[in-house]
């Protein structure tokens, strides 16, 4: 029996009205200019997110989120299951790639000032996605329950305690109590596997719909000059180029995961002192160092308090950047561009400093 694909497609189309989606994809245009390479960062993040979901599900099939079973189950994945260490390695590396691309995406939007009107909401949902991605990384880092990740989590969940008024409750919520225990592990697993995926999908849907609704932004000077920027259709021209990028990224990710696969440290001991060289994942290093440089006591408050408040203020300020930078083409805009450069330098310098 010959199956006519066109008829099958027509059956679905009658009921789901898919043709408008395809038509939209051919009509949507992607501007081509000297900075259009940054348009690829968004879909690359999606690629890594999909890889995380697939490898994450595979790992979660055998991972046991309890105090007794966590490290042992990961040890089992790495030794007994076929290429389990490679699956774990891909998951770990894809997390790094995803957060790296999220930051590159943020910087690209910052420096092209694509957050200006009418794309403020896209920027704000994007900031929320950044926060959620980093929480993903933080919760995932604890799950192996080895000595390093336990210490990193103790430090990390202690930081919100410095926030005035609500800090203690936040820490208790994160830890499932006052201390890091097996409850913390189970709770972090739930966040990582259930709550955060729901949250990130919800925000992602809003973000992507906003991007489609507002269209792709053009560089500021072209917008001011009202110049018509040459554009290519999204389908097939831009998609084909994106596929090239995805394949290169996939190959790079798989190769790095093979060559630099992470090992599993010693099982965590809740009563043992912190091991040497405790540090969080690379994307938290600059924050870690910022906390370290503040002195223990600064007048009536702790140095940690000041640091946390400053970081929170910075995050809030960046969240509202489109409203702060409301005159992007004037001198104020230039100041914000330089602030962005300063931010990048600060992050890189502090990250390297924390490793020394």
């Amino acid at each position: 029996m010959k199956i006519d694909l066109k008829k099958v497609g027509a059956w679905f189309d009658d009921r789901l009205a898919l043709t408008p989606i395809f038509k939209y994809m051919t009509k949507k245009e992607v501007p081509q200019h000297s900075h259009s390479i940054w348009y690829y960062t968004g879909s690359s993040i999606l690629l890594f997110l999909m890889i995380q979901i697939v490898t994450g599900i595979m790992l979660a099939l055998y991972y046991k989120p309890t105090l007794e079973g966590a490290t042992a189950s990961i040890g089992r994945i790495m030794t007994e299951l076929p290429l389990g260490w490679l699956v774990r390695s891909i998951h770990s590396w894809s997390a790094t790639f995803m957060i790296a691309f999220v930051m590159v995406h943020l910087l690209a939007i910052w420096f092209t000032k694509s957050y200006r009107k009418p794309r403020e909401a896209t920027w704000m949902t994007g900031m929320m996605l950044l926060v959620v991605s980093m929480v993903f990384g933080f919760t995932g880092y604890l799950l192996p329950w080895d000595d390093l990740s336990l210490s990193a989590t103790k430090v990390g969940t202690n930081i919100p305690a410095a926030i005035p008024v609500v800090g203690k409750w936040v820490t208790q919520f994160l830890r499932g109590g006052d201390d890091v225990t097996g409850d913390t592990l189970t709770r972090f697993f739930l966040f990582h596997v259930c709550i955060l995926p729901l949250v990130i999908f919800a925000i992602l849907v809003v973000h992507i719909l906003l991007v489609q609704k507002e269209g792709m932004s053009v560089p500021l000077k072209d917008e001011i000059a009202k110049k018509k920027v040459p554009a290519l259709p999204f389908w097939p021209n831009f998609i084909l180029r994106e596929v090239i990028i995805w394949m290169v990224l996939l190959g790079t990710l798989l190769t790095l995961a093979l060559v630099f696969a992470p090992s599993l440290g010693l099982p965590a001991d809740l009563m043992a002192p912190a091991p040497e060289g405790v540090k969080p994942e690379w994307y938290f290093l600059f924050l870690f160092q910022t906390l370290k440089i503040f002195p223990a006591n600064m007048g009536p408050v702790t140095g940690e308090f000041v640091a946390v408040v400053l970081i929170l203020l910075a995050v809030v300020a960046i969240f509202f950047l489109p409203f702060l930078d409301n005159k992007p083409d004037k001198k104020k805009g230039k100041i914000f561009t330089w602030l962005g450069v300063l931010g990048v330098i600060y992050a890189i310098v502090f990250s390297i400093w924390s490793l020394l």
Binding site: M58, P82, G84
Partner: protein, 152 residues
Amino acid sequence: MRIDNAYFTRRKFLNSLLGGWLGTLAVTFISPIVKFVWPPYKEPDEVKLAFADYSGMKTGEVKNFPWGNKPGLLRRAEDGSFIAWVGVCTHLDCNVSWMPDKKKFFCACHEGWYDENGTNVAGPPPKPLRRLETAVEGEDFFVRKPVPGAKA
């Protein structure tokens, strides 16, 4: 060579070459994932036990032993030898227990009965209990999968 009309064009040929390549790539991606998700946990081929634990068994007595992830049943026959079965009901895989007063194996899930030789005598089980071979070698007591062809 110029062909004015053809059912199978050069374009189709090249497209199928490319499609075949992509298909192979997809398979090589999918097969490790499948192997990971469906790991082959086989039954052991043989299990080594300490004979001292079983040497004191009385005639007609039934004891358990571990057969991989399943329970195994061991019974001392009248002539002093051991009979071993996989203690799993052949109906729907429930674990089987020994009823010494009735001298039968009983599966509580759907009330299946096996006699003292493991033959299914009542209830839904379609086949007798799976037999295993036993061998005593010095201090060790081996229970093995039966060699195909050799009848117990």
